[in-house]
Symmetry: C2
Subunit: 196 residues, 2 copies
């Protein structure tokens, strides 16, 4: 059994995923706008297995597409789940923990925030998200955790687009990133190729 | 035991809810941006108990704050959960089921949509949301379900603001609306008053 692959997820991606324009992978029919909650439970259990022995006191994700996986996963760690909200305006009041997250897909920069008292200095926070590409969302979430004086326990990702490099860059920088399926390439000739 | 009240939720609202400006109830610390997933599981089980004997083939909610409760609840019905997305532009392609949802809080009108193949004509759809006030979100979701030729099995709501009238209006129109806590009033003198 491989360290990286969760076979049930990979098979589902092969069956129901749709590749668009060479680097967009649509999985909305089971992982995003429609959610196969049984599969989410398998993913949550797998994160719990991989992070056995690691202290996790809270789960943090980013709205909206990470919320479902974060909640289901939180059941296996018996901890609350928190999501960072996309904020329209910068916060000057000190009541929020804020980070900026550039979106390469939409060519925008979002400010995301969490109320200060939802992440405490003793917390060990597991970051959860459905996708990891360039890694900017994870970096923003990690910045929020650190600005609270808390520590990042690691990151649990459903699908990493390995060819966009964010996951390996974050691993090299010392973050433990556990992805259940890593897409190495998805060109039209060879189809989807997953990391072993 | 009352038909309407879920005591654990009501106690939590009394303990951690914050009333602002007489008609805003902030429950972000356990029901929205931070989610007490154990409480969500109690709510999901209670919806399953109330809808025992009713066919439910899918759960539909609206992004972002309904997603967590919809997913957790979907576990107790063994069905997929779907959320309606707030769309920036009207859809003319026919690939989406769309409804308009006025927001009284933000004084805006959102268009929300679901891909056509996520709700099918044989579906019996349970609507789930965290809050019910004027009822416009539920009406939008019900319109989406009906436009697919599917039927609305009912609605499961965490907190209904009874004094805003949406729930009773929808019940009078024939929708089965099950709310776990119904706030009848929240003035500053008497505090929070729940329907029995």
């Amino acid at each position: 059994m491989s360290l990286f692959r969760m076979q049930a997820l990979i098979e589902r991606i092969r069956k129901d995923g749709v590749v668009l324009n060479g680097n967009i992978l649509k999985v909305g029919s089971f992982l995003n706008q429609q959610m196969d909650v049984a599969l989410f439970n398998e993913m949550g259990r797998e994160f719990a297995r991989r992070f056995t022995g690691t202290r996790v006191s809270k789960i943090l994700t980013i709205e909206a597409s990470g919320i479902a996986l974060a909640c289901i996963t939180a059941q296996y760690f018996n901890v609350p789940a928190v999501f960072a909200k996309k904020a329209k305006t910068a916060n000057l009041s000190g009541e929020l923990l804020t980070a900026t997250v550039p979106s390469f897909t939409h060519k925008t920069v979002n400010s995301v925030s969490v109320p200060r008292d939802y992440i405490l200095s003793g917390d060990s926070v597991l970051l959860i998200d459905d996708f990891l590409a360039e890694g900017s969302a994870l970096e923003g979430l990690a910045a929020i955790v650190r600005s609270a004086g808390a520590e990042v326990a690691g990151a649990g990702i459903a699908i990493e687009k390995g060819f966009q490099g964010g996951g390996d860059r974050l691993r090299a920088a010392g973050m433990r990133v556990e992805s259940l399926a890593i897409v190495e390439s998805m060109d039209e000739v060879r189809g989807l190729v997953f990391r072993d």
